[in-house]
Structures are given as C-alpha cells and as structure tokens.
C-alpha cells in the first residue's frame, strides 16, 4: 500500500512539474527576455513584428533589434514571413507591427482599418537576376521587355527557366505587377503555362538558392541578392526601370481593432526606425561586407519614393 501512495505522490508531483513547466514557457517567454524588476513588471514586455523575409535574411533586422533593445526594456519577437503572410497575421491581430513592402496591399490594409501610422524607412530596387550565360538574352532590357522575352524564349528554349517566389510576398506582388504591365494576365497566361515557370513558394534567400541550382531567372530585391551574392553564380541582368523601386514601410496594428496590441512600443519602434541615427545605420549596413549598401535610407529621399515628407520623416506623435 505504501508503494501505491508513493506512486500517487509521484504522479501528482509529475503533473505539478509539468504544470510549472507549461506556465513557465507560455507566460515569461524566451531565454533572452530582458530581466525585469521583480517589484514592478511581472513579465517582460514583448513586441511582435511580422516582417518581409528580405529584411530578416539580410541580417539588417537583427542589427536594428540589438540596438533597439539596448535602450528599451522590451524583447522584439521577429516573425519573418513574407509580406502576404505578414498582412494576414496583422489582420488577425496576432502581431503588433508590420514591416512590409507592397504599397498597394498596405494601402488596402490601412483603408480597412487594420493598420495605422505607416512610415517608410528604407528602399532599394528589385532586379531580375539570372545565369551569366543569359540564354534568353535579356541583359539591359526594360523589366517589361525582359519578361516578354523570357516567356517567348521559354516556349522554344528549355534552358530558359524562371523561378517565382509564388508566395504572395511583396516581391511576388512586384513580379505580378511587371507581368501585368508587360501585357500578360498573370493567373491565366503565366501560372501553369509550362515547365519553364516554377513557383518556389519560399522566402527570398531560398528562392535565390533554388534559382541558382536550376540556373534560372528570378526577381529579387537588391539587398537580399547582394547578401547572397557570395554563395551563388547568378548575375543581375535587369536593374533599371521605375517599376523596380522597392519601398519598405512599417506600420502599427490599429489598437481600436485589437485592444491588446502593444501600440506604445510599436510606436517607439517605428519612430526609432526613422531617426537620423537609425537611418545612418541602414545606409551603412552591409557596406563593409558587400562593398555597397543593401538598403538606402528614406531620410531625405521622400521625393524619389513618391511619398509625403511626413510619411518618411515625421515621428508618430
């Protein structure tokens, strides 16, 4: 009978341990959570950021995160997901801040009341990259002409292959916009039109690697391409054209829609992004390692970006 009691006790103890474990890992968070005064805040503060993969894959966001956390008692939780998925997380109220790059869908997101206080904080350019041999011969063309050539050449030349993000990311949206201005209906004339068009369904870095393995063409933002340049053989073939401008914006999730979002810290983060100091960090990021900047600061460049000065430079009040 003693044994029985012991077993009962052990079982109870086990359940208790599990319960403690479970509570521990749901409420007080990760290992690098900022230490808090036991008297004041019970739990460390988190800020959940859903971001396009390019900002994360290049390492820029990790750099900015460290700087921000030095001065603020908060742990940034970065979920790199691509613009489409990030917007979806935002609409469901699962994150506090979005950092994305698709103006059209951002506008719709804000019109629907989900996002507020957008600020643009960086930009670069999209480029069409491909194998150095350039089997379709698109080097130096306009983006639209290049796409027309790619789809036409691909009908007869099996070496012409295009890898698309295929994940409704900002880059994928840009690709679709170029197809549209080249005169093609993306859904019917491009998708599923043959083996030449591959929908990778992955982030920017993974897509570049896939295109490299297949010696295929793909659309990339210049930042991610430069960060991966050392590992791949693909070269930029088309990098000029107004349509290729790539603008990164950050916005808060509307606390009127979702009362629990951390809007105070979200505001701090977005304002931090557009300070002259951070803008300088963005301008310098990657210069040492890659020989040129991966991103350009928005400060002083609002006219190039076609946005109001307020959207690029005024802190959220």
């Amino acid at each position: 009978m003693d044994i029985m009691v012991n077993r009962n006790f052990l079982l109870a103890a086990l359940v208790l341990i599990v319960a403690v474990f479970f509570c521990g890992c749901t409420s007080d968070g990760g290992n690098d959570a900022a230490p808090t005064d036991s008297g004041t805040a019970a739990t460390p503060e988190f800020l959940k950021i859903a971001t396009t993969t390019s900002l994360d894959n290049t390492g820029l966001l990790a750099d900015l995160k460290d700087r921000f956390e030095e001065d603020h008692d908060v742990t940034l939780q970065i979920i790199a997901a691509g613009t489409g998925k990030a917007l979806e997380y935002g609409e469901r109220g699962d994150v506090d801040v979005l950092m994305v790059h698709d103006r059209a869908r951002e506008d719709a997101f804000m019109d629907n009341g989900y996002g507020i206080n957008r600020r643009v904080f960086a930009y670069n350019y999209f480029m069409i990259v491909g194998p150095e041999s350039d089997p379709a011969g698109i080097a130096g063309m306009t983006p639209e002409d290049a796409f027309v050539t790619l789809i036409e050449e691909a009908q007869t030349n099996p070496d012409v292959v295009v890898v698309s993000r295929g994940d409704s990311s900002g880059t994928h949206a840009k690709e679709q916009a170029i197809w549209a201005s080249a005169g093609y209906d993306y859904a019917t004339e491009v998708v599923g039109s043959g083996d030449w068009y591959i929908e990778g369904g992955q982030g920017m870095g993974a897509t570049l690697q896939m295109a490299n393995e297949l010696q295929a063409y793909t659309v990339s933002d210049s930042g991610t391409y430069l960060a991966y340049q050392g590992d791949i053989d693909l070269v930029p073939l088309v990098d000029e054209g107004d349509v290729l401008l790539n603008i990164y914006g950050a916005m808060m999730i509307n606390p009127e829609k979702f009362s629990y979002v951390n809007s105070e810290m979200a505001k701090e983060w977005i304002n931090f992004l557009i300070t002259p100091e951070t803008q300088q960090v963005i301008a310098d990021f990657g210069v040492e390692e890659y020989g040129q900047p991966l991103f350009f600061p928005s400060l002083g460049n609002y006219e190039i970006l076609g946005v109001t000065r307020e959207e690029a430079e005024s802190p959220i009040p």
């Binding site: 086990l14 749901t26 968070g29 970065i78 790199a80 109220g93 699962d94 993974a206 629990y260």
Partner: protein
C-alpha cells in the same frame, strides 16, 4: 563536395566549442519536446487503459481513428492549432500563438495517438492469465491498472521514447505555430530549415548533427530497454 566537408568541420567546431546559439536552440528543442511528451503521456496512458479494459459502443471506431491519426500530417496540426490559437480563433484570448506553449500543444496533439495506440496494443496483447492473476490477488481497480502498466512498462518506455523522437524531429507545425522567432520559438528543425535557406550550411549541419545525436541516444535507450526486457 568541399562545401560538405567544410560544413562538417565547422559544425564539429561549433559543437565542441559549445557555441551558445547552437546549444540554446538544442536545449529549447529538448525542453519543448520533453514537456510535450510528459503531458501527452499523462493524458494518453489512462485513455489506453480505459480503451483496453472497458467495452462500450463505438470503441472499434475510436481505435481505428487512433491508428489513422498515427499518420496525422504535421502541417495540418500546424494549420488547426494556428486557427485555434490565433487572436481571431476560439482560444485567441490566451495569447498563445507564436509561443513555446503553443508549440507544446501542437506536439502533444501529434503524439497522443501514437502513445494511446501503441500502449493499447500492448495491453490487449497481454496474456489474460496475468490479468486474471492480478484480479484473483484481490487488487482494486487502481491497483489493477498500476500492476498491468508495470507488466508492460518496457513497451511504455519504448513508446514514449518513440513519441519524443517523432515530436522533436517535426518541423511543419513548429514553424507555423511558433513562428520561428529567434531566441524564443526557434528549435532545431525550424532553425535548420531557415539557416539552410540563408546559406549558413555550417550552422545547419551542426544543428542537424545534434538532432541526429539525440535520435541515436533515444535509439540506444530503446535498444537497451528491449534487451533488458527479453
């Protein structure tokens, strides 16, 4: 080929020098999966006992369902748990999405059928003489259950170890439910997926080797348990 050899050497280096990031991710993996395995065992083993020793209508259907759920696709678990825990979902008020707790829930769902199914099979395969003997010794219901479990303890150990292996090597649900947040919900499998896509082959290989090491250790434990039971 060079890439693989270089990656291998750097991976070894990362492991023997106790690279903090590698170990942090590895410990988080073990911690999450250990918690999930304990919770799932506590839930599943009583259910297996109930199924094995009680008869009720629809029992066969439940057992078939459990066996079918062995092959539950992890991305489906990911999708369902995401929808349940998202702020718009029925359990959104808990604020659990993108936390280790959410990942534990996903893994618990993943391995419950395995533990129930395998424990149940061992129980029904048990020699009826043993059951009769225990009852004839005057055991009450609880004593009977404990004695029966003791009879099949080696199978239970092996089952739990197998469930642990299944949970720790899972990536689909972990990435959808956890969000792969560095320092918070990034575990061995999600880390390998990400680092490979970022071209950090060395780090991926180091993490992969640790995952393999955990699997081999589990296998070793299972083998020695089996040997002991023979």
């Amino acid at each position: 080929m060079n890439e693989i050899i270089d990656g291998f050497l750097t991976a070894i280096h990362l492991i023997v020098t106790f690279d903090p990031e590698v170990y942090e991710v590895a410990f988080r993996s073990i911690y999450i999966t250990f918690s999930a395995t304990v919770i799932a065992s506590v839930i599943s083993i009583p259910i297996a006992l109930f199924l094995a020793f009680r008869t009720f209508p629809g029992k066969r259907t439940i057992i078939n369902l459990v066996h079918t759920l062995y092959a539950l696709p992890t991305v489906l678990i990911g999708l369902v748990v995401f929808l349940m825990l998202s702020r718009q979902g029925p359990f959104g008020f808990l604020g659990l999405l993108f936390t280790p707790g959410a990942m534990i829930i996903g893994q618990v769902i993943l391995i419950i059928p395995i533990i129930i199914g395998l424990t149940y099979s061992a129980l029904v395969a048990l020699d009826p003489v043993i059951k009769d003997t225990i009852i004839s010794l005057g055991a009450d219901y609880f004593q009977f259950m404990v004695s029966i479990l003791k009879e099949i303890r080696f199978v239970v150990y092996a089952t739990v170890a197998m469930a642990f292996g299944r949970a720790i090597s899972e990536v689909g649900a972990a990435i959808m439910i956890g969000g792969n947040i560095r320092g918070y919900t990034r575990v061995l499998t999600t880390s390998i997926a990400l680092e490979t896509s970022m071209g950090n082959i060395e780090l991926s290989m180091a993490l992969g080797m640790i995952l393999l090491f955990i699997a081999l250790t589990l296998n070793f434990i299972m083998t020695s348990i089996r040997r002991e039971s023979d």
